[in-house]
């Protein structure tokens, strides 16, 4: 006689595994699209704290030198990155097209010697921050590593209440 065994435990296990995978996937996706953005600089940069208005002036290319006369080198993530969306929205207060138009005008007017350098990943930003004195970039707060110097904005660090780039 053919023994009969219920199939539901297998189905339940399969369902549980799929659910867990889905949860992990959505969790990681959520992690990519939320969280505070840290403003990080080359470790030797002699600035610890900036106001939000000063930060805007730096990212707009209006303040081009740090207080020790090192030239500010802007590192900006390539389009599509979540960090870029936050920075364009909060700091630049521009859409993608406006951002591009802004830098075309800025370079053409000779107001800056060059526009921002594009970086494609946090790792790339990390390497360039270490290699280029005066470099400043933005990364997700969870990606901050010890060799990065995190700037306070209005005295706040990522994770503090009222931090402007949450």
């Amino acid at each position: 006689m053919k023994s009969w065994r219920p199939r539901w435990p297998k189905r339940c296990m399969l369902l549980a595994v799929l659910s867990l995978a889905a949860l992990l996937w959505t969790g990681s996706a959520f992690a990519q699209t939320s969280g505070a953005i840290a403003i990080v600089t080359h470790p030797d940069t002699r600035v610890d704290d900036v106001t939000f208005l000063e930060l805007r002036k730096i990212f707009l290319g209006e303040q081009q030198f740090w207080s020790d006369r090192t030239r500010v080198i802007l590192l900006v993530r390539a389009p599509v990155a979540y960090e870029r969306d936050v920075v364009l929205n909060r700091i630049y207060q521009m859409r993608e097209a406006q951002f591009r138009q802004y830098w075309v005008a800025k370079v053409f007017r000779a107001e800056v010697s060059s526009g921002p350098k594009i970086v494609y990943s946090t790792d790339m930003a990390r390497q360039l921050l270490a290699a280029l004195p005066g470099a400043v970039a933005f990364v997700a707060a969870r990606d901050v590593s010890p060799e990065m110097k995190v700037l306070r904005i209005n005295g706040k660090l990522p994770g503090d209440s009222d931090y402007p780039l949450q």
Binding site: R71, A97, Q101, W103, V104, F108, Y120, L128, G134
Partner: protein
């Protein structure tokens, strides 16, 4: 070695000297030296008018702009235009200067500039795509005799962007107007009397879209029959640097005081321009209007031969059909020296170009990989 040989050696040396910094800078992707960046602008126009001038299609200007970092602090800026003329294309070096950046508040440069006594002149240069309207205001149009559009000499400039007033300044000394007073003294000072200029403007931290400023310019100008005048230009501007609305107002007074006894002649010019970028789905559309006037005394010996009096109303629509290209349709009602009013329709397609891929050349990756 003959003079031709000597010339060839000099030319070779100069060209090699210009190329070495670029060739040596190119592989140093992790340098703090600003990279070489190239931008271009172009415009194509169609004109219908009551005026007794040619109508039809016109190629406007093809403009190339290069900024090249020679070191972390030294940058060469160059703007060259190619303009269609009835019998040829005219190539002109519009800007060419070498600048040393000491800091935000002190940058020293030498070369040929657009004279920073007018907001429009230094905000838009020859990039017609940048400006809202199809044409410049009459008071600072290309080739005008009213104000010196170009300036050849030395300049210091700087800004204090994080101070409450957000002050910036420029000051310069140079050749002043050429024998043709609509041109700069590119090959020396015609009367050996240097021109000077000072320009100060503020962009207050608390009102980030406001810019207000003033400028002054002094030179000695000479008429064709060798009468010398001290020329003083004083100008003011106020600009709201947004598009909802966009507002720009400029005023200039040009005074000519004879070196010998006699009357001083004052000319006035202004424009008021308002534009508004429509919200939401209408955002590609920006209607605009401009009122402008140039009032020159009939007996000003320096200006009288050029019939500079002008009054105009401009109304138009700018359509940004893509990120770096726009179509402008503009109606102009203008009154010139003859007190007769003319209507004109201008249609202009203007564009900017750099590299493809969604970024300007300035943003070329430090890895050398273009997005």
């Amino acid at each position: 070695m003959g003079s031709f040989g000597a010339m060839r050696v000099i030319l070779t040396t100069v060209i090699t000297g210009l190329l070495i910094p670029f060739s040596s800078a190119a592989p140093q992707q992790l340098s703090t030296t600003p990279p070489v960046q190239i931008l271009g602008f172009a415009d194509i126009n169609y004109v219908e008018t009551d005026r007794d001038i040619d109508e039809g299609f016109f190629l406007g200007q093809l403009v190339g702009h290069v900024s090249a970092g020679l070191s972390e602090r030294v940058t060469l800026f160059n703007e060259v235009s190619v303009t269609a003329r009835p019998d040829r294309y005219r190539i002109e070096v519009e800007r060419l200067f070498l600048r040393y950046d000491f800091s935000d508040w002190l940058k020293v440069s030498g070369g040929r500039y657009h004279t920073p006594i007018s907001y429009w002149n230094t905000a838009f240069h020859h990039g017609l795509w940048l400006q809202t309207t199809a044409r410049r205001p009459e008071m600072i149009k290309f080739g005008t005799k009213l104000q010196p559009v170009h300036f050849v000499g030395l300049q210091i400039e700087g800004a204090f962007p994080t101070t409450p007033l957000g002050l910036a300044y420029a000051a310069g000394v140079g050749n002043g107007r050429a024998e043709d007073i609509g041109r700069a003294g590119d090959s020396g000072d015609v009367n050996n009397h240097r021109a000077w200029l000072v320009n100060v403007f503020s962009r207050p931290l608390a009102i980030p879209y406001l810019r207000i400023g003033a400028a002054a310019y002094g030179d000695r100008a000479t008429t064709d029959d060798d009468i010398e005048f001290d020329e003083t230009i004083v100008s003011f501007h106020a600009v709201w640097l947004r598009e909802d609305p966009e507002v720009a107002v400029e005023y200039a007074r040009i005074a000519h005081e004879p070196r010998s006894d006699g009357e001083t002649f004052d000319s006035d010019a202004y424009y008021v321009q308002v534009a508004y970028r429509l919200p939401g789905r209408g955002s590609p559309f920006k209607p605009y209007v401009r009122f402008e006037e140039v009032d020159v005394p009939d007996d000003d010996p320096l200006f009288a031969p050029f019939d500079l009096d002008y009054e105009g109303v401009v109304a138009g629509l700018r359509i940004d059909f893509t990120t770096l290209a726009a179509l402008k349709v503009e109606y102009r009602s203008e009154e010139f020296e003859t007190n007769e009013r003319f209507g004109s329709l201008y249609v202009q397609a203007s564009l900017a170009f750099g590299q493809t891929g969604g970024t300007v050349p300035a943003m070329e990756s430090v890895t050398g990989v273009r997005p």
